[in-house]
Symmetry: D2
Subunit: 478 residues, 4 copies
């Protein structure tokens, strides 16, 4: 077991310690929370069940640490982040092993997540040096009636203590994407990792610990939502919450009041396919976009909206590729691995049964063993089926046949979850028009939705980004 | 009465109509809300008490109007705003009269508010043309591991329907500062004016009506908070709330959930005075900053923190100037006019009585007639007095004597209301250090707090602005 | 004659005065320069032949005026520019008449030039308010080894006296595009208009005069190049030269030394047409792009590079449209009007004769009467012909048939004049790739080259812009 | 000798090779150029005397290398620059030794120059990733009359081959400050180092060579100015010249024509001292600013303009500090070392003699041995003395006593060399006003002029920066 070696410091018996005030600690609660391996469905790890009193202490030291961190030169903050990034990459194998055991992420993808996270930490450091280091210098005589007698210097300042709550599917990457920007900007961090993924997150925090950040600047508390969940999100010491996840986010927003929130919740990302699209390209992107990590991604393709005239061909092509997907344990780098929990698998099964009753065409037989669900393409899905609107967060993908582009856009915009979307066409004018008309934060042209390259914006209103993939290479010595 | 002339269209008998779907309407509720003149303490105007059903209709037409407005060329949106700005300035006398009667704003200041509002509308139009017209064009190869095969185009898009709730003290200016940015950015507006100031706001909306904006794009609903207040802020059709006011904002934030909020609530703006300050300059700024519009400004100087060694001199100078302030009705352009309501006057009196009991030095005798409270400087205020921390929103200004700059900064930062602040010193190093240390969104150096020039930022964390007033003029033919 | 009325002030007998120190003056040289009407080939107007001594005086007053103008509030500068813009539009008829007589610009286009110029002046004013009003506020601790102890405030300051030399083809528009940015930024202007177009320019300056700019801030000197040309460009009082024109620019750059230069010289703008292009659209754009104002535009289509397989069809379509072009005097709003001078017509004829000798296919018979040259499409042009590389600046357009896109890009990039270019294709990937590969400052996709919309960049290296025209309209209630 | 070890590869006998096409080469000219050690006044090193033919080859391979480099992903370009930066720092001792021998730079400062250069290379890499990776996305409907039917994507593209000519005083730092930005932006570099400093530059280039940049992307040619100087600056293969130095720059600008130029020439940086200044701080900054590296810096304090009433005191304080400056060889880390050449020493002596004749007060006796000139403060300098206006570029500093701030500003602005300047005062208003009135590209408040922190702008019109040093530390737990 990875942790028995270098990370023994963070273990107390078989229970992982939490991290507070620069130290790895055992909770005074004497309790722990078990983490179930989705593949074996047996307990894999244990983490501390922190108490509310421990949360209070964490908040106090986070506040104190933040005060002096905010006065640390920007380049020193960046230097520490670069160091943490390097250490994180060195620990990629150990952390990836946790991801395999805790969330059944295929082994290779687990390593990729860690490496990409290290790159992101470094990138954020350099971004922050620039964003934080440059304010505006305004003069008064721009506005009618004013002489040039007043100057205004604006700068960005830290918010204070940031509560970071990442989701289970990227417990490392979506943690550092909250931690790194917060730290370079002079804030302190209190991390509440998801239960599934908590140990990977603790290992990641250990890398930051090794990098030598000041005591109290970064904390990581684990425990039961019922005990410390609301207590954390409603804590008066929190100055900002950064949350990625599902409906819980809505509840948090109501409890948190005027605290600034950064939220990324669900997505029912539509894939609109036109007649003139390169259908092999589309099929490849549907497979990658719809079935990677068994569809447990907020940017997964969640519904295909294809023009009727090319639907048969496209479905055949996708079907052929589905047949080639490997299904099994994450340790074997299977394409399709068990979904994160039994309740998740049950929810997915509910959507499949509903579609069956209402007449969807099953391109494959539905098959499930424990948390493992075989990849399933549902053709001829109609708007009255739940799966036309709800996120399975599993390897089940609905295809809706449309008679016009307008119909596709209409379905896309009728969804409550406008995170991303994509459109496939070769036509430059249609590409621009449709991506403009889709009410999603991001629309990919000729590529599956994705968060990345990681410096591309990943937002919702009032910003929109259109991402265009160039498919042919440079043709001349231009 | 101003309204009997050109504005007859917006009156139904003696009750002002509300504005919806491009028309001036009478509520089907058959009810009205009376507006009390703070000076006479008698009803001055009546406005419609709109029903929830009417709010629903307003929301529907706001949504529909927004869809096509978002596709209107930017320069056309700007053109309409410039037109509205010009019409607003033409109507300055009529609107100012409402401000005098509804909120007892001194006549000249009332005219200034309208003119400045017109300038702001025009300025926002031109800002918007630029901010909305320019997005980013990103390439993929900035981030490690990516070839230059993916482009990203980002742009700003409208939020949808904006609910604008301005406060009583600037019912025109703080309405247009919400309306103009929203409109140029392609949003529609539902305005809920404060009861005191509702008629001025309706007149202002009438100017936008005359400018010829599309039907439904701008609406103005009046009525009882108990009937339509929460109904508006929790309405599913609202995509963003822009609110200026007091504690109500906190309640709204909890009800509104994940809707983007723009809030500007209270301020206990501190004025720190150092030994080397130009005390005449300080006294003049305290008078202007503390007693303009009887202190009913969020950016009013709300507490003076002066170094003991110069406190006697400063207090004498301020006292001398207070003695010259004229007190009386707004129609006579008096410096000090009645505060907005009896309950407000009672609240102020409560703070004064508390200070008296706890031993503050009264530089003037406390005097009140109805809503009219004579200007009052309270010296030797101590932290145990309520007025050291609470906003009177009236012509009562506490002076706290401090023994060190640190003490002043500490008091400033212990406040919950860090809107603005100011520091007076000639020393360039102290000026920069203290303004940096004060945890206020804006710190003015050698000038009273202010929202303005109107293109200067007016924000809280994570942005901070330091505004420096240059006191001496250019000396050479440089 | 337009000038006999309102503009009598700027005439001395039949000679137009020059403008210096806020006054309209007669040159002490006693000499004048005649302006030949390209249509009648007879003298139309006369302007002063200013002396070097007069230039010296103009420079002195320009320097003095600039010093105080630089301290004038930005909004006041903008206000004057808005005023000038409005006056300019009011004078559109009189100025357009000059353009017709001096440079044979079709009457409607002449009016358009003036109106567009007014819009540009206003736009520049508002841009300048923003660009000049906002600097940067930097802190020291972004760079390794520095504490946050040093702040840096950057701002834009004026250059001083700007010498503006616009070309004959847009003597009003390309004058104001130099004047307006210079003025809002706090500079003064010395304008040396082209001989053809000098009277239109003087009328335009008269509008600025009426707007009430300070004395000496704007001057306009006319005269012989041999007398004052080099004297102006090498004058020590000049702080920047903004020049649009031809090869003269290269000579100026060598004489001017370290003075900042803004130059826009020739362009051999290529139009690459792919197999999948909409050929009707292409033909329409070739006509507009190649023959507007008889091809006397730096952004005119100057060579068509069409894939062989669609060349016959395209040439036929263009030929049909050429046949419909009206040819004659500008007063009749003919499409094709006389070129600006006899020497220009002779130069064009030289290119035509060279092409004839070397075997180009003449789609029309070559025809010339005086300065009037009938529109001519030359097919099967080959790289050994001069017209493949040189700018006719007349209504003669070469077509080169290519066998691959690479060949087209290669020809485009082998040219010395990479101002703009365009590519026609429906394919999104090819559009992006080809526009990337073309070494032109701007590449239009599916549209003819153009300077405009006027806020789009119009530059050469190291900036490049790709402009994409959207051809289909919004399809859904998106 | 440092080079005998690791750098043997770049030596041919005792002559340093030049670098072209990724290889270290011996010139076919068979000739070499000797580098005189300023301290010993004997030949120290030899470098190749390259021929014009070799320059031609270098230009060809620079052009070819640039084409493919421009298509290399930004992050890969950055990665190579980070690698070069690290290698450069590792070689700091060897390179510093060259600086000591070639330009008599004090040993410690020589090491600092190399380290700071490494930091700058890394910083430029990250800046470039951001500046190059982000363009603008504009829409057409910002400008009057346009629908939203046209999009514009702007991006920055490389210029091509950059000729970099750094000066002798920072042959490493002012070389990399040209090389690093050029490379990250996709350009290739041809470096022509100064003769004094050529070997340090070759060592530096060797570090880039080790980092593994593509062949031909970076070249370094050495030789006689008479042979290859004009040949380089007028070479048609050069797309941009970046030059730092003296009057030669003016000549280059006339020869280079329309090629973009980046020039930084002389500076007569004024130091204005007010009555209220902290005179100890001023004296310390005058010593550092005026005598570091024996005054051979473009940002050196070159003239002190002090208010008469504090002049005696200030001169005494400076005098006392001058007495403590160590004078001798750079190997001993002396404060004052020999100036770069005998002709330079003679020029300085000429200025000193002129000042003596015209009656300047010598605070020390003038003393010179070979190229070594003892530090000299000249009081009571008047405008008729050459040293009031000319740059000694040596350890001789004139003090002009002024009776008003206006007089000081006037002297400052009458100079032709407005690079930087500084003002010492505690008064915030005077500091801002005077720095505004001084016509220098940069004005430091309460600090000597400096290029640095290296991310601060270092420019002339039309940009100006004001840099403010904060002298007191944070006072409270703010």
């Amino acid at each position: 077991m990875a942790a028995t070696g270098v990370l023994a410091e963070i273990l107390d018996g078989d229970v992982y310690k939490y991290y507070a005030d620069g130290e790895w600690k055992k909770s005074t609660s004497g309790k722990s929370v078990a983490i179930i391996n989705p593949t074996t469905r047996k307990p894999q790890y244990k983490v501390q069940a922190c108490s509310q009193e421990e949360v209070n202490k964490v908040m106090d030291s986070a506040k104190a640490a933040q005060k002096s961190w905010a006065k640390t030169p920007l380049w020193k903050r960046a230097e520490l982040l670069h160091k943490a990034a390097a250490i994180l990459k060195e620990h990629k194998a150990a952390i990836a092993e946790c991801l395999v055991k805790e969330i059944a992420k295929p082994a290779k993808d687990a390593v990729t997540e860690v490496v990409r996270s290290g790159d992101l930490v470094s990138y954020c450091a350099e971004e922050g040096v620039r964003i934080l280091g440059e304010g505006k210098f305004l003069v008064s005589d721009s506005f009618p009636g004013n002489e040039r007698t007043k100057y205004c210097l604006t700068s960005k300042i830290p918010l204070g203590v940031i509560l970071a709550i990442p989701p289970f599917n990227y417990p490392v990457n979506l943690a550092v994407s909250k931690i790194a920007p917060a730290l370079i900007a002079g804030n302190s961090i209190v991390l509440k990792p998801p239960t599934q993924g908590a140990v990977a997150a603790l290992h990641m925090v250990y890398c930051f610990h090794l990098a030598g950040f000041p005591k109290g600047l970064i904390s990581c508390v684990t425990g039961k939502g019922s005990e410390i969940g609301d207590f954390l999100t409603m804590h008066p010491g929190v100055n900002c919450i950064s949350f990625t996840g599902g409906d819980t986010g809505i509840a948090i927003s109501k409890k948190a009041g005027m605290i600034p929130l950064q939220m990324e919740l669900g997505g029912k990302d539509a894939c609109i396919v036109l007649e003139d699209a390169d259908l092999d390209l589309v099929a490849a992107n549907i497979i990658k976009g719809g079935f990677s990590y068994s569809g447990q991604r907020c940017t997964a393709v969640k519904v295909v909206l294809v023009i009727e005239s090319v639907a048969d061909t496209l479905v055949e092509k996708v079907k052929a590729k589905v047949a080639k997907l490997s299904v099994g344990p994450p340790e074997d780098d299977c394409d399709i691995t068990p979904v994160v929990s039994e309740s998740s698998a049950n929810f997915i099964e509910g959507l499949v049964n509903d579609a069956k009753q209402k007449g969807a065409t099953f391109c494959q037989e539905y098959k499930r063993e424990g948390n493992l669900i075989w990849p399933l393409l549902l053709d001829n899905v109609r708007p009255d089926m739940r799966i036309a609107w709800e996120e399975p967060f599993g390897p089940v993908l609905p295809v809706i046949r449309i008679n016009s582009v307008e119909e596709g856009i209409h379905h896309c915009n009728a969804s409550n979850f406008g995170l991303q979307g994509c459109v496939f066409t070769k036509d430059i004018n249609k590409a621009m028009m449709i991506s403009d008309a889709m009410e999603s934060g991001t629309v990919q042209i000729n590529s599956a939705p994705a968060r990345g390259p990681d410096h591309f914006p990943f937002q919702v209103k009032p910003t929109k980004s259109i991402q265009l993939v160039r498919l042919i290479d440079i043709m001349v010595d231009g």
